[in-house]
Subunit: 338 residues, 4 copies
Amino acid sequence: MRAYQLPKGGAGIDALTKVDRPNPKPGHRQVLVKVAACSLNFRDLGIVRGTYRVSVPENIVPLSDGAGEVVEVGSGVRRVKVGDKVAGCFFQRWPGGEAPADAHATALGGGIDGMLAEYVVLEEDGVVKVPAHLSIEEGATLPCAGVTVWHAMMEHAKLVGGQSVLLQGTGGVSIFGLQFAHALGIQAIITSSSDDKLAKANKLGASHTINYKTTPDWEKAAMEFTGGRGVDCVVEVGGAGTLARSFGAIRVGGKIGMIGNLSGPATELNPGLIMGRRANIQGISVGSTQMFEAMNRAIAANAIKPVIDKVFGFDEAPAAYKHMASGAHFGKIVIRVA
Amino acid sequence: MRAYQLPKGGAGIDALTKVDRPNPKPGHRQVLVKVAACSLNFRDLGIVRGTYRVSVPENIVPLSDGAGEVVEVGSGVRRVKVGDKVAGCFFQRWPGGEAPADAHATALGGGIDGMLAEYVVLEEDGVVKVPAHLSIEEGATLPCAGVTVWHAMMEHAKLVGGQSVLLQGTGGVSIFGLQFAHALGIQAIITSSSDDKLAKANKLGASHTINYKTTPDWEKAAMEFTGGRGVDCVVEVGGAGTLARSFGAIRVGGKIGMIGNLSGPATELNPGLIMGRRANIQGISVGSTQMFEAMNRAIAANAIKPVIDKVFGFDEAPAAYKHMASGAHFGKIVIRVA
Amino acid sequence: MRAYQLPKGGAGIDALTKVDRPNPKPGHRQVLVKVAACSLNFRDLGIVRGTYRVSVPENIVPLSDGAGEVVEVGSGVRRVKVGDKVAGCFFQRWPGGEAPADAHATALGGGIDGMLAEYVVLEEDGVVKVPAHLSIEEGATLPCAGVTVWHAMMEHAKLVGGQSVLLQGTGGVSIFGLQFAHALGIQAIITSSSDDKLAKANKLGASHTINYKTTPDWEKAAMEFTGGRGVDCVVEVGGAGTLARSFGAIRVGGKIGMIGNLSGPATELNPGLIMGRRANIQGISVGSTQMFEAMNRAIAANAIKPVIDKVFGFDEAPAAYKHMASGAHFGKIVIRVA
Amino acid sequence: MRAYQLPKGGAGIDALTKVDRPNPKPGHRQVLVKVAACSLNFRDLGIVRGTYRVSVPENIVPLSDGAGEVVEVGSGVRRVKVGDKVAGCFFQRWPGGEAPADAHATALGGGIDGMLAEYVVLEEDGVVKVPAHLSIEEGATLPCAGVTVWHAMMEHAKLVGGQSVLLQGTGGVSIFGLQFAHALGIQAIITSSSDDKLAKANKLGASHTINYKTTPDWEKAAMEFTGGRGVDCVVEVGGAGTLARSFGAIRVGGKIGMIGNLSGPATELNPGLIMGRRANIQGISVGSTQMFEAMNRAIAANAIKPVIDKVFGFDEAPAAYKHMASGAHFGKIVIRVA
């Protein structure tokens, strides 16, 4: 089968190498998936650039996000059957409940080989069915960004309709967060440096948009929009300078889901801010298979369609990475495999 | 001031007596509310008929649900101010957290005098502000039916978007439940014996409707609609025969919020049903002030408008009761006071 | 290898047949366990008698509870290694979070072959390490009764120190519940028809004991012991007549964990009792691997030793069943395998 | 009546002034308490020194912690009666559920007059009964330190028996935490710079003690004690340098309850630590009346006796403050009022 591999983490986009590999075989409670499409996340860019906080094995097949069809099942498989359209779960061994301490050891395209290949063997507890109203390309966009923001908003902050969430920027995590909020009666405030992207966010149902270039004190704008109460939750994806502002935006007793440090070295955090707001901060790494299933039920019931920016061919994978690096996109970048 | 009172519980609708009473004065952390409108619940019918499971003092002013304007505040009041439009909370002494064991002793129109009067003194923790987009009549419909179903769906079952709720009939509890579900991305299945009422429910956003006259095995229809999985939650308002069917409608691990026995003597419950579904059943009595506030945020953010069936004048209060007794209504019955 | 099997459910204790079977081999993420000891539960008696509510396949190897040593691991095993002393989990496929709807299909000695054999293949997520201070016989007593009552008390009722639990009888579930309560600062009230057994319960740390023969209104005794407040949780293992009394024993807002119908046909339940206490009832079937691990941490940190009534040899398995049927035991009945 | 007052926050211990004040009268749902004893917290030292993060009104009666007897009740009081021995709640208006955003405005000895007076009027929802086995001096030690650490361990971290908590130093918060952990089957690791104090902590049931003078890498000692897993919860009371070490002590998915910055300017926090441990941090300010009641049930059921270091007379109040400032104490410092 054809696949991409990366000689080692940090080798750069141009080090991505197309290779032939033997077709894998599913063992007990495993499934063989013929991959149809993959999608990119900032994390994947971090891995090729060497800025991701977890290191990866040599010659790893990259990408956590992909979807395709089950073409063979091992012994004892109960959750899916041949012919099912499935997406892989970022963590192959976090079915539900508390995450294993070593979850990253079985993260696709991180601890173990990922999805940028024609065939992949996944654990039966490490796949979920793609909602019926989605194309397979759309299904391929869900695993990392979608589940991450679902975890932050619905599992950590336990947002309910009528509450509010502040989403930073218009990357995959924030756009999925915006779509979930809109469908679930939650008020979404979203920031960007581009009025054009904010206009698109408005069309997706943002309750309030803030251009952080022209309104650098965006936390004050968020506080004002909520009538001085503050937002219930911030999904913190930012780097330099955002965290302190996030504390200025949340209500007393509010929650911050910290996703990672995507855009540069993080500012240090004054613990006085935590006390002053009696805040709750949670470090969040994607989520479990059960969270993915819960998210898919919300996507299906509300006919949510992931936003796809551009679809690349399998041979154009490096171009897809470079498009993500440019920051020009709005929505997910997809690589078609089959 | 003018008010209605009931000589004793069970004396009947015609025993409702219009009286003159001295104007009440607010004490420490109390507010004086000039009542503008009240609304009716089945519980109020139960009280005049003597079928409600909690007995009431003699000469009680009836009705738990009402809204008006704060016209005077006692010492130490921090939560509201003169001029605020507020609704009273069903329980005057359940601000948040766990309910006091004797909550019913301070239930409006039950343990203590209720809202069917020109003026009422309420605890400052026993009022909430009416959402700005609502009329005062609409605000008067929220306290009992709205908070009850919010408690069942959002606090007990902790429903999230993508999950499903089964609502029995088209009384106030079920219609509020339908509106909340629709706004929050939750699938609502609703039953009625009237196709006309089901058509109205469809317009309010029901995902699925079932006429239980023509489909007496409504639990099977619900199971089928959910693809054999079962609903996540049933809000059980029914009497004879409904409870066993509710167990047939829920998923393994599903939840039943039990509101009361409104339509006749309850069927006994076979505990084997609880085991077979690994179900969770919770007895629910309205809710706390904090639940009311959370509900109001959802109502405000999603511009939900309570459904009002008919508005009666103060002098027509007995006619309003009789209209409720007829069962012909769809939505809340309001009595204008001021 | 040697094993017992049961021609079909309900065939009776004397139908238990000692057989030779081929040694099983572990697949991907499975482990081969050399079984050292098993223990009995009422459920196992129900299976041979045909009174258990879930049917079993023909020629099943019985018993859910057993412990031994890992002697071989399949590919990809990360949680345990050769040489580890482990107990099997009742449900082989409920690692954590929400239970799969079809959990019983992979229950040991129920849906699939159980532990009464020299070797057994288990899922790596379906075993837990035995606490270091326990013998392997003691480890074999934990899976069903221990996890069940841990689930009821700690996961469902979320009891904290200072709260109270009522335990019915002195079977395995209740005795483990008593030991957990004593170690965790929770007040345990326990009932029995035998003063001798109650004296033993006292030595294990019961806060209050009630002989339900001499005090048939045991719910009133429980209410009195709690100063009129009622207990926070009842672990309901009973049959005829106990459930209605359990409602008389709990506080307003209290919880009932319903374990099964062990001692006869269940009484029907008047839903008015649920409303009157605003009670919460949960159907409970053992628990997940993560619950088992949490329980084991409590057992280890508090040096809890399971109570073993009597140990039988492998050839005496039918005698062990008959001893359980006699009801004379106090604590777990063990069958030594290796 | 006699009372102490403080001209303004930060005026110093010697500015504490004994004054005569008129006896207060209870209003609706208020009670008059004849104070018998008070106790000191670091927060009270912070207020007289001007280092507390919340400012106080002029001429405030200091101290949040005190207990005495109800000698008069206002109208509508249901929770207590004349003759009850009660302690005041730190926050007078946080009965249960979510804290009001402005909770500090009604904090005793902070936002409003405190307990260092012969009589005080408290809200009926702002008092709890003192457990029967405690002296009134012991009851006076509970409100701030006890409820704070209960909130951190039992409400935020939701510790259950078998889990572990790391407690920093031997101040009031940590000593109560140690006693609760010991009674509830939770493993407590405690640090101090004094082997003498660690010996006392051992007698109170510490599972492990660490002298942070001789073992400055105490987080590594904690990690080692837990077999490399890390503790489930740290109650962070520290200042310079402790927070980063706390992240080194917790398990993946562990929790940090942040109580305040007691011993100096806080270190800044690298958000990478939060991600690396997928940690949860919660800013904690004492707790609600319902938490206080839950704590008292644990204290009563387990016969926990607060540790009192020394009792001062009413006229010796400044000496009591100075004793606390010396840091020589182990346990609570009490001022007898009546």
